[in-house]
């Protein structure tokens, strides 16, 4: 049985029911205990009897157990978890990268696992890219079309760019794909790329290309330092070096000053929005850092999020 609010002691006897504790992460005004109990933590059983519920049941394996929940204003949550990149629907995103400040998709998660496994080989192969070995892009026509669409959406290409820009982007992506498929990777990324990928579900793009193209793009976006390394070591002719550098500037995901103590990868948190009728139009259910699973409308003029930290102490390091 979960107690919505802990009662510490009754007539000298400790109440040993499971309880949740709500921790404020900013100076937002805490809603009343009664409102939280009645609107967030109560329901009726099948006989119509009033019961206390855990609204995060099914979203965390710690549901119905003693734990902390967190309360923060929507404004501050958006500041802590901005969307630096994707600007898309986050329904299927599974996590958040606090350094590149972007949502993580299922294919990213699988890629990052393999990336750690092959980190040394990938770095070595990036160092070894010889501009004379691959002098023009070799992606399939389908991949080129996909890349073209993504590039315009991401702002890597502009309509005023000379054709050489797309060719250079095509070449850059082809080189990254080549590294992923190199002998030293032992087929790890080829195997990953062969997994069926659904647009907007497995990756953030609305367009389908080969798995390898999507992996290469997300690699560049998630590991900005590898793109920098590629440029640093490329040593191409002046013209090519110049255009590749210009492109990489557009591709580079800018990262803020880093708090090295913070966890880099976080899950997307389930959240309940507590807000007024007037502020409903500001609500976004699916945000880069979290997902609103329910709305509670109150009279207090604030827009708050009640967050389940999924076992992560949200006070530590990054708040």
């Amino acid at each position: 049985m979960l107690c919505g609010y802990r009662k510490y002691c009754t007539l000298g006897k400790f109440d040993d029911r499971e309880y949740i504790e709500i921790i404020q992460l900013d100076s937002s005004r805490m809603p009343s205990k009664q409102m939280l109990q009645e609107r967030c933590f109560s329901a009726y059983d099948s006989n119509g009897n009033h019961i206390v519920i855990d609204p995060f049941l099914g979203f965390t394996t710690n549901a119905n157990k003693t734990r902390k929940l967190y309360l923060i204003s929507q404004e501050n949550f958006s500041l802590k978890f901005p969307d630096n990149l994707n600007d898309c629907h986050f329904d299927a995103a599974i996590g958040y990268d606090t350094i590149s400040q972007q949502a993580i998709w299922p294919i990213d998660h699988l890629f990052l696992e393999k990336y750690e496994e092959k980190r040394a080989a990938l770095k070595l192969e990036l160092d070894r890219i010889d501009p004379k070995t691959l002098t023009s892009g070799n992606l399939s026509q389908i991949d080129q079309n996909c890349l073209n669409k993504i590039a315009f959406e991401r702002g890597w290409l502009h309509s005023s760019d000379p054709k050489g820009f797309f060719d250079a982007l095509h070449l850059l992506m082809s080189r990254f794909v080549r590294v992923l498929t190199g002998k030293e990777m032992g087929g790890v990324f080829r195997k990953l790329a062969a997994i069926p990928m659904t647009t907007n579900i497995d990756h953030p793009f609305n367009y389908s290309g080969s798995g390898l193209l999507h992996l290469a793009i997300r690699w560049i976006e998630l590991k900005e330092e590898d793109l920098a390394k590629y440029i640093e070591k490329l040593d191409a002719s002046d013209d090519e070096q110049d255009i590749q550098e210009k492109l990489s500037e557009r591709l580079r995901v800018t990262t803020p000053d880093l708090n090295l103590e913070m966890m880099r990868y976080l899950p997307r948190f389930p959240m309940i929005a507590i807000t007024t009728e007037k502020r409903l139009p500001e609500i976004q259910f699916e945000q880069a850092g979290g997902r609103i699973i329910d709305i509670v409308i109150t009279d207090d003029d604030s827009s708050l999020l009640l967050i389940d930290g999924l076992g992560i102490d949200l006070r530590e390091g990054w708040m």
């Binding site: 329901a43 099948s46 119509g48 965390t60 497995d202």
Partner: protein
Amino acid sequence: MIEHIASLIREEVGEEVNIEISPDTKHLSKLGEFTGINFIISNLSDAVSLPLRVRRIMYASSGDKLNDLDFDTESMIDSARQIMAQEIGEEEADKWALELDLRINSILAGRGPMGIFSGSESIIIEETKEENNEVTQTLQFRFQNGIRKIAERTYTYMDKIPVRYDEYKSERGYENLLGSIKSLIDNSETTEKHKFHHLFVWSDLPPTNFQPSFLERVVVDYVRRFIGHHKHTAKILIVSSISRSGKRASNDNLSSTETLALQRGFGGGILYLAPGNNEDFNYDKMNNSIRSMSVYDSTSFIQSLRARFDELDISHLRILDELRYVLHESTIDLVDKSAFAIVSDCWTGTWSESKEIDGEQVL
């Protein structure tokens, strides 16, 4: 409108299917106890709580059937783990068993228990070959190092055709695994029958203002299209009148909660168009038999439609993205007002493709 939609669904699906109308969001425990196929028809505004509702039904309803299912899946995983342990060692086998457990949980959350036995992600695969009137079926299991045959059965059409996994004879060493699989499928078939179809409805006018055949068409289409493997489906249905020449179709617009609820809807839905009695859409007198084209070419009709989208303040929402158009062409029961309906899928967060595991994201 909700009651009318419910009655149309009832006509289409029969008495055996449970139809629940506007359940109180505080009474979700009751929904969790429902068995069989259930249509839950709610006001659009209730879609704001859709993820909470779906998870509550899924995870708060752990009756005996689900406990049996847990026991059977654990038993199957353990049998498979023991087989693998002999080949790759205890440590690797434990690691693989954990992965298998996560994978099965993902399947259960997305497709329900029968997803273990069918589909591209299935763990157990049944193959059938027929030769000289004799049918040979093999049962295969997806182990760490590939798919492997674990049992076989043969019958002819003269025999009584075995049901489920009856009559399968185990390959040597797979007896326990086959036993747990048989028990699992028996319980899965019972649990599999529990499905929930959530429909969130909004309309600007009572049903009598719309062409009866139009509403019937939309609802019948909805019922027939939901059929699939997913344990939970959720759709939004908007039915609205369209006025001509700039007049407001109705004073009834979406509330802020209803507009917010539309965020749960995806694009790629279906837009049904029902031109009214006085809609002059047959511009091309030579080709007026091609009614659908003339409707799409009718500038005034499309402008009125767009104006209604603007009135409803939904033009910027993704439920209007990549809509497929369907023209309702019945003329026997035409009404004065033109109308449109949109049926759009909602994200329930339980699709097997979502890579979520037992509620927790994979990270």
